[in-house]
Structure formats: C-alpha cells, structure tokens
C-alpha cells in the first residue's frame, strides 16, 4: 500500500484582530492515528478546516507527499482523499432519506445514470458498513431514526466509501456513551490497520487519546507547541500542562459581600435528553458559583434545564426551601430564575427591537396599566439602566442589532436587572466580548451578588471562574465531577477534572 504524508508549512489565518492560526507546521502520515489537542479556541478546528478545504483564506502551503496542493474548496480536499466528519453530524446528513442514500449521495451526484439503481446503492452501502464491521444498521432505515452514534458511523462509512487517505474526526466522542466510544475506536483501529488510512482525532477527553492515538499534537493560541508520541509514560497531567502553558491572568476579583443561607438548592437533577445527569448543587445568597467544564460538558444544558427550556426528567429545584414547578421558561421567570443565555443574538436579546424595549422585555408587566404600555416609564427605566450599565448606544431608541457584542450582552443582562429575580444564571457571558465590556459585565455580576442574589456563572474560561467566583463545580459528560473552593482551585486542577481526570488525595494536598 502506498504511503502518503500531508503537511502544512507556515500556515496562518488571520481574522480581524485575532491570529487564529500562527505559522503552523503540521504533519500526518497514512497508517497513523494522531490526536490534536488544545484548549477552547486554540485553533484545532480552524486547522482541520484548512485541511478540509473549508477555510480558503489561509496563507502558507499545504503539501501532499512534498508536492504543493491548493485546498480552497471542500471538493479539492475530497479529491485528494481528505475526508472530515464534523462534530455536528446533522449538518451533513439528510434525515428523510435512507442510510443507503446518505452513504452513497456523493456517488449518486457524480454518476451519469438517470435511473436510481436501488439494488446497487443498497448493496454498496451495506458493503461500506461491512467494511467497518457495522452490522446493526439497516441500510433501509431513515437516517432520522438513527442514534447520534449511528449517524456518525454513517458519515464515516460515507467518507471511506470515497477515496479516503486522511480521515479527520472532529470531537467524535463528545456525544457518545462509553460503549459507543469503544465501538468507534474499534472502527478507527480497523481503518488504520486494513485500509492504511491516517486518522486525525480531535478530542477533549485526554484519556481517550492515551488509549487510541500513537502521536499527539498540542495547540495553544493558534500555534503548535508540541508534537510527541504517546508512550506508556504519557499522562493526562502532562498534556494538560502543555495545553495551558502560562495562562494570561485576567483579574476581575469578586468583591467581598456577606454570604447568607442557601438560596438555590438543586438535588439530583437530570434532563436535557440525558445531557444533564444527576446534578446536585447549591448556591447561597450573595454567592457567585462557577460551573466549569469544556464545550459540550453539559454546562449550557444544565443552565437551560434549570430555566425550564430543556425538559427535566428527575430531581428537584428549590429556592429558599420552596420547591419549584418549572416546565417552561415562563414558569422559571415567575418563580425567580433569570437566564442570560449563551447564544446572545439568537436567544438573549431581541435584535430588531430598541434598547429601551429590550431592557423592559422581561418585566414589561411592571410598566403597564391595564395591558397598555406606559412608554414614559419604559424609557425612564431604560435611561437609568443604560447609565448604570455603561451601555454605549447613541440613544435608547437605537436598535440592538446596531450595538457591539459587548453592549448587546449588557442589554441581555440589563433586562433581568429590572425584573429583580432571586437566581441569576449566566451562560458564557463573556463570549465574543472585548476586555472593557468584560470588566463592566463582571462589575454587574458583582452588584447582583451584593444585592443578596444567588449567581451561577457557567464558563469554559477557567481564569474568569478563578477570579470571579466563590466556589466552582466542574462538569464532565453531563455530571458534576468536582466541587472546589475557588481559593483552593487552580487552572490545571479544573482542567484536569474537565477532561475526565481524577486526582488522588496526595496530589490534591500538594496543589
């Protein structure tokens, strides 16, 4: 079998203001399973998109067996045998068609024949699945009836059906159960052995990488900082240290304020289609509690389950000892829970409405008389909040879509300030927000805590959690795996828990 090597030389990508990739030299050869690891935003996915031809703006060279190739379109990459299976499998599948058609779709497009050769399509699809030793998927089933793991298998089958030398799996195990992950690993190993394919494996779960990969590449801030083989001596701690390096300390300290009794008590909460499992936590008055964990660990799902947006399947939620009955977000708001969601533009603000309307949207009832809005009161409230929060807007009648990201976020927070709830949940509030606005948002959150409210702050930025919170829960695969006093926590400790690591007591005592 012929061997191929895919390399990047001095590949860089610049987005306005950020270097997403900075002079990256990456190399992978057929017959190898290589892991690419790094913290969120380290540039892993960006690099993979370059290789898949989905990031045409790169500078530098990509070489196949030493010869320069141009990857400006997904088709270019496919022609060279570079196939990618993205984490969001649903974007690449057609739910209403059968498994066979989904596996064969590319060929159906290329083929000249007008008649659908059902027998051929089904047989070839079956062969592709057989090649991967997958026998529990019927090729006649509609894809929408498959599980997530099975959908992934279908995509892998589609990839290897075509000319495939390099298979990129972008966080393939994130949604999978343990047994499904094992099944995937079996397939990956088989591909490497019998087909001489290079597999590039992106994962946040480091113990998986130790299990399956031969080599790993560590990325940090758009650069490759390390290439090493996986040996028996390699530990997750070692990789975590390489991933983090020296982190830039951002300091927004929590201001001291009296911490009272338990306000929010959550017992054995499960829900969000199994993405939140048996979560117990408590938040006291005036306390800011962080939820740490990687992307996909279930932080957002936890926030939304508490808020009634995702279905709760078990457990109880109490505020001040009173059990809540929450089935919809509307119930949650009425019973004292506010959520500033992650997808700000989609979920947090009404972008086509004015600043003043947004700021009163959560408490509009307070500004109404017999269902008619008292515009004067609304405007007075808006003017006050714009001042307090430092929202940069030419007027309160400006449309929110015209504000910057940071200021939109302040509006999203501000609408809840007016509503005066008991528990405030923030889900990645600093995502895409510049440093100045960040500072304002932290000040806001501090103010909320000082008013004796309970605050939950979910973020994958550990440095923020370490400076802002009183206590931190770490989530992994939908469960809370650790509870740390912030004063005793550190970035490596949090990261270690969030990649599924454990620590023995001796190590804990040392940190």
């Amino acid at each position: 079998m012929e061997n191929y090597t895919l390399e990047t030389r001095h590949v860089s990508i610049e987005f306005p203001g950020v270097k997403a990739l900075d002079d990256v030299n990456f190399s992978v050869s057929t017959g190898e399973i290589r892991a690419v690891v790094g913290a969120n935003g380290a540039g892993k996915s960006t690099l993979m998109k370059v290789l898949a031809g989905a990031n045409p703006t790169y500078t530098g060279d990509v070489l196949l067996n030493g010869e320069k190739v141009d990857l400006r379109e997904p088709v270019d990459a496919k022609k060279l045998g570079i196939q990618i299976v993205y984490q969001e499998v649903d974007t690449a599948l057609i739910p209403t068609l059968s498994v066979a058609e989904n596996i064969m779709i590319n060929e159906m497009v290329m083929q000249g024949s007008y008649i659908m050769k059902w027998k051929y399509v089904r047989e070839e699809a079956k062969k592709a699945l057989d090649r991967l030793n997958i026998h529990n998927i019927n090729v006649r089933t509609l894809v929408q009836n498959l599980t997530l793991a099975q959908k992934q298998m279908v995509l892998i089958a589609r990839a290897v059906r075509m000319d495939c030398r390099f298979l990129i799996l972008d966080e393939p195990t994130a949604p999978l159960s343990t047994s499904e992950t094992e099944e995937l690993f079996r397939i990956v190993r088989k591909l490497r052995e019998t087909e001489n394919i290079a597999v590039i494996f992106i994962s946040h779960r480091l113990n998986e990488i130790l299990e399956i990969c031969e080599n790993y590449t560590v990325m940090r801030n758009g650069r490759i900082v390390d290439n090493s083989p996986v040996t028996e001596k390699t530990t997750t701690q070692e990789i975590v240290e390489k991933m983090l390096g020296r982190s830039i300390a951002e300091n927004f300290p929590k201001e001291a304020c009296p911490i009272g009794d338990d306000m929010l008590v959550v017992d054995h909460l499960s829900g969000a289609d199994g993405k939140v499992k048996d979560v117990s936590l408590h938040v006291r008055k005036g306390e800011i509690v962080g939820i740490a964990g990687l992307v996909g660990a279930g932080k957002s799902e936890l926030c939304k389950t508490l808020f009634g947006d995702y279905k709760k399947t078990g457990g109880t939620v109490k505020i001040n000892g009173r059990e809540l009955k929450i089935r919809t977000p509307s119930d949650a708001v009425r019973q004292g829970i506010a959520l500033v969601p992650e997808e700000r533009r989609k979920e947090g603000v009404l972008v086509n409405e004015t600043v003043s309307f947004n700021l009163s949207a959560a408490s509009l009832g307070d500004y109404c008389k017999a269902s008619f809005i008292n515009q004067k009161k609304v405007n007075a409230n808006a003017t006050k909040l714009v001042d307090e929060l430092g929202i940069k807007t030419p007027s309160i009648n400006q449309y929110v879509r015209n504000l910057s990201g940071g200021n939109q976020q302040k509006v999203a927070v501000g609408k809840w300030l007016a509503a005066d709830e008991d528990v405030y949940i923030f889900d990645e509030p600093t995502k895409g927000v510049d440093v100045g606005a960040k500072r304002d948002i932290f000040r806001l959150i501090n103010d909320i805590a000082k008013r004796g409210k309970a605050v939950i702050y979910a973020s994958c930025e550990n440095s923020e959690l370490l400076s802002l919170t009183d206590r931190i829960y770490v989530m992994y695969s939908g469960r809370i795996v650790a509870e740390l006093e912030t004063s005793e926590a550190s970035d490596p400790r949090i990261t270690n828990f969030s990649v599924g690591g454990t620590e023995d007591k001796k190590q804990a005592a040392n940190t």
Partner: protein
C-alpha cells in the same frame, strides 16, 4: 423492561405509519356495513375513484413541489388558467383535442416561469411568492376569458365567433370514467417512479431533508427546484384539463377550490409506510380517504354542508399523527 418499551414504541410507530391506510380500510368496512349494497357496489367504487381523481392529480402536483421542501399556494389558480387555455384552444382556435392538450401544457409551463422567477431569481420564500401569484393568476386568467366562462355557445373574449360550437365525445371522455381514473393512476405511477426510481427524484427528497447537506454533496439545488417546478406545472395542466372536460366547459375560477383538499391529501399521505415525506402513493391514499368519507357520509344522508368539517377533522388527525409524535427540539 427495555425491550418492552421498544416494543411499545415500534407498535406505536407502526400505527402512525399506517394510520391513513388503516383509516381507509376502516372507512370501507364501516360504510359497507352501514350502507349495505349502496356503498359496496362496484359502480359506487367507480364513483369514489372518479370523485377523487382530480384531487389526486392536484395532490401529485403538490407532492412534487413539496418533495424539495417547496410550496405552491397558486397551483389551483394556475390550473384555472390551464382550463381556460384548454377549452379556448379547442373551441375558439379549433385545435384538435391533442393539440388543445399540448397548448394547455405549454401555456401552463410558460406561466410557471413567473413562479420560478420569483422563487429562484428574486429569492422570495415559496409561500409568499405563490400567495401573490394567486391573485396574478386570477386576474390574468379572467382578462384572457373576458370575465365569462369558456363554453359552447359563447363568443370569444374579443367578440369573434368561435371556431367550434360543440364539444366532441373525445373531449368529454377525458373527464369521465374510465379515462379520468386511468389518467389519475397514470399520474400517480409517473410521479412515484420519478420520485423513487430516478436519481433526480432522490435529489429532490435530499433537498427537502437537508438543503445545505444536499448542496454540499454537489447537487445543483436551483436546477432541481426548477425541475420540480416544471413537473408540477405539467400536473397542474393535466388537472385543469380534467376539471374542464368533466364540466364540459371552463367556468370562471373553476379550479380554485381544489387547493386545500389536495394539500390535505398530501399531508394525510406523508406518513404512509413510514415515508415521512410527501410521496405519490401516500397522496393517492390521502385523496381516497377523503373521497370515501364524503361518499359514504353522503349515502348515509349526512347533509353536504357538514362534509367540510369531516374533511378538516381528517386533515387535523393526519397532522396530529405527523407532529404529535415528533420529539421536542
């Protein structure tokens, strides 16, 4: 425990998948028992099929549009224009029956270019574009026929004497049994073969399932949406021909009322056999269900003005079957 739950689930799925067929069989049995010979006679079966033919052909047109997730509110108003073209071609211009059919199909195809222009070039959402076109079709069509019906014994809209003063037996035969029934089954067969056994048909379904994934698989989505539109236009023309032949004239807005029943047939048929997408056989079954209900209830002397409520209830039940079982998110 788990297998029991799975069993329950698969039984439930089976019931939903075959709900329309089960309902159809149940109706047939029920009316056979209740109405005795009046219902279960072969002549009455022909009645039912004749009644459902036009709905079915309209339904097939809608099926082809809806396969790639399109929608056409203006199908019925366009069919009225097709009917005007067909009858005027025969009476006013003196074309032969095949000539009139050809004339009618060409006119419909030409008019459908406007629909495709609004949807593909101007990028107006299907629903809105065709909603506007409903009025355009009504106005243009009536301008062409001069505001009155196209029938024997009437002058042309420009006041000249028509080329023919009588409809031939061949003209009238199209809209009567057995031809109307044969044409119906032919339309279903053609659409079924096209959607199931040609790759073009599968691409239309691919677009309906996930347009972005279809585009990234290399399918020319605009070209195929256009193709779906042209096929729809041909079926609309056929429907218009059936309506005018059956009525021996093209009355003003003669087809406009067929839109909703045909959409109902498509929605009822969506889930048939677990297809979960608009499909030709399902549409046939949907149309059969509605016609059987109407026929049976009429024999049972239920007043005709109550029938729409029954039709509506059937549609609602079909939609419940389709959507109530969907998972949240």
């Amino acid at each position: 425990m788990e297998s029991k739950a799975m069993n329950k689930k698969s039984v439930g799925k089976f019931l939903v998948d075959w709900a329309a067929v089960i309902a159809l069989i149940a109706c047939l049995i029920m009316f056979s028992v209740l109405c005795r010979k009046n219902f279960a006679s072969s002549s009455n079966m022909v009645n039912i099929m004749r009644a459902m033919a036009i709905n079915t052909v309209f339904g097939i047109a809608a099926t082809v549009t809806m396969a790639p997730d399109g929608f056409d509110m203006s199908a019925a108003t366009l069919a009225s224009c097709s009917a005007y073209a067909f009858v005027s071609g025969y009476l006013w211009f003196g074309f032969s029956v095949p000539g009139s059919i050809l004339f009618c199909i060409v006119v419909t195809l030409v008019m459908y270019q406007l629909t495709m222009f609004l949807i593909l070039v101007c990028k107006i959402p299907d629903m809105l574009a065709t909603c506007a076109l409903m009025f355009v079709h009504q106005g243009l069509g009536q301008w062409y026929i001069g505001g009155g019906a196209v029938s024997t014994g009437m002058k042309t809209s420009w006041g000249a004497d028509p080329a023919r003063i009588q409809l031939s037996d061949g003209f009238n035969a199209i809209g009567r049994a057995p031809w109307i029934i044969i044409i119906m089954f032919a339309c279903v067969a053609v659409a079924h073969i096209f959607l199931t056994y040609t790759k073009h048909g599968r691409f239309l379904y691919a677009m309906g399932g996930n347009k972005e994934a279809a585009r990234l698989s290399g399918i020319n989505v605009k070209k195929y949406r256009y193709l779906a539109g042209m096929i729809t236009a041909v079926f609309i023309a056929i429907a218009g021909i059936l309506v005018s032949s059956r009525g021996s004239s093209a009355q003003v807005m003669c087809c406009d009322d067929y839109l909703m029943p045909s959409l109902a047939a498509v929605f009822v048929g969506r889930t048939v056999g677990g297809a979960e997408k608009p499909n030709a056989v399902g549409t046939l079954i949907g149309a059969a269900l509605v016609s059987t209900l109407e026929n049976g209830l009429t024999i049972l002397a239920v007043p005709y003005y109550v029938l729409p409520a029954v039709k509506g209830a059937v549609l609602a039940l079909a939609l419940i079957a389709a959507y109530a079982t969907k998972k949240e998110n």
